[in-house]
Amino acid sequence: MLVLGIESSCDETSVAILKDGKEVLANAVYTQIPFHEVYGGVIPEVASRHHVKKITYVFEEAFRIANVKKEDIDLVCVTTHPGLIGSLLVGINAAKAFALTYHVPLIEVDHIVGHIYANFIEHDFNFPMIALVVSGGHTELRLMKDHYDFTLLGETLDDAVGEAYDKVGRVLELTYPAGAKVDKLSFEGSPSYKLPVVLLDKDSYNFSLSGLKSAVINTVNKCNMKGEEINKADLACSFQTSVIKVLVSKTIKAAKEYGVRQVVVAGGVAANKGLRLALASAVEAELPNVELSFPSMKYCTDNAAMIAVAGYFKYLIDKKNN
């Protein structure tokens, strides 16, 4: 079965073609990052304009790379939520138009679920499992007992992890998107600044990152007022250390409580090297029989391959239930 995936929820226009929900034949991505960089974040109207201009170009690229015919597509999957509404509408209408033209079923896919299924491209799933979703817009812990059987254990009460990285990156004078730059800088410093590690209630799987972000901003402001020089690498390292402590401790706690066989990390922040190393170390030490998987770098950021995989499994479940 050839599955066409379409993703346009934020600032990436992506079209992918997969065979049987696993083998990626093409994953074309047009990124708008250079256009948003100057504003320090994604401007929704700018994003929507790029999507509509580039949508057919990205389709063309995907079919060229996959070397398949349009009429060979069996299923169309598209991100319908969450995301920027103007951006989403371009992908949704393109998907509907393609599905109508070639009389193929259309599957609506949750963007966050897509990020989780990005792991399935290169790893199998062993249920039950815990999914830690960390991106610019989302921070969640989900328990998965089977395909499309999700229980939300916790989520951020304020800033998403990637959002906090971008805001901290801004005060460290790093350009948008700052996540990878803060991560890289943190390896050049030591955690010499005292910053909070906000774990909330001991039984809670929720996250709160705005206090930590504000602590970084306050530290910078105080240093500026006193005329003291900021050690940016140390501050990046202190921030990253606090974030990772929270993410790792809650993930390990959830994995133990629910006796899972696998932990998967999903979303753009899954590319964070500090998080990868810390989680790998914690899982090895505390959960030796649990498999840990991250998507490869190209599937961490927004892409349509993950939407095609997630949509493929949703289609199979819908078909079975009907």
Binding site: I43, E45, V46, S48, R49, H51, V52, K53, K54, I55, T56, Y57, F59, E60, K70, I85, G86, L89, V90, I92, N93, A94, K96, A97, F98, L100, T101, Y102
Partner: protein, 193 residues
């Protein structure tokens, strides 16, 4: 000729389909939900006319000015149909579409579409002996300023009296798109303005 016309630039969704013998035409009010309705309407029209997307010989799309989101809805669909089945795509000012029903009669027409706050999108067309002349091209302007400076004898067309004529639209939509991948709406304004 088998063709499709789409315009979602205004509070009204306009869809026209024909197989050359029978027509399917829809004018539907609802600024914020064109996206929810449009594909079902196209599908219904194709079914009723016993057509496929691939059997279309021409697609005509209103590319603005108008509602930014609305412009993207129609153009995304038109671009996809055109790309998917290699169908010629023609673009036309949405204001021409909204006033097309008047262009069979001589006169001067000021066609407007509501923009944000106190602004409108406007265009002035003179029709003389069946020939169209653009007196003022698509413009983003204060509504009050536009109305105050309108000459007497010009027929003002707003969303209260839009009239559509598919045959006129087919006749005046001469702008054939060469590169489907580069076509974008005519927003008239910068994204951050």
């Amino acid at each position: 000729m088998k063709y499709l016309i789409l315009d979602t630039s205004s509070n009204y969704l306009y869809l026209f389909l024909t197989n050359g013998e029978k027509d399917y035409s829809v004018v539907l009010e609802g600024r914020n939900n064109h996206s929810e309705k449009i594909m079902d309407l196209i599908s219904d029209g194709l079914n009723k006319l016993n057509m496929e997307v691939g059997s279309l010989e021409r697609i005509i799309c209103g590319i603005g000015p108008g509602s930014y989101t609305g412009l993207r809805v129609a153009l995304t669909i038109c671009k996809m149909f055109s790309w998917a089945k290699d169908i010629p795509l023609y673009t036309i000012s949405s204001l021409d579409i909204l006033g097309s029903g008047y262009f069979n009669n001589d006169g001067t027409y000021a066609i407007t579409n509501t923009a944000k706050r106190d602004y409108i999108y406007s265009k002035i067309i003179k029709v003389n002996g069946g020939k169209l002349e653009t007196l003022q091209d698509d413009k983003f302007i204060l509504k009050e300023e536009f109305i105050d400076n309108l000459d007497k004898g010009i027929t003002l067309i707003t969303e209260d009296n839009y009239k559509y004529d598919a045959k006129v639209i087919l006749e005046i939509a001469k702008n054939k798109v060469d590169n489907i991948h580069e076509v974008e709406p005519n927003y008239l304004r910068e994204a951050l303005s």
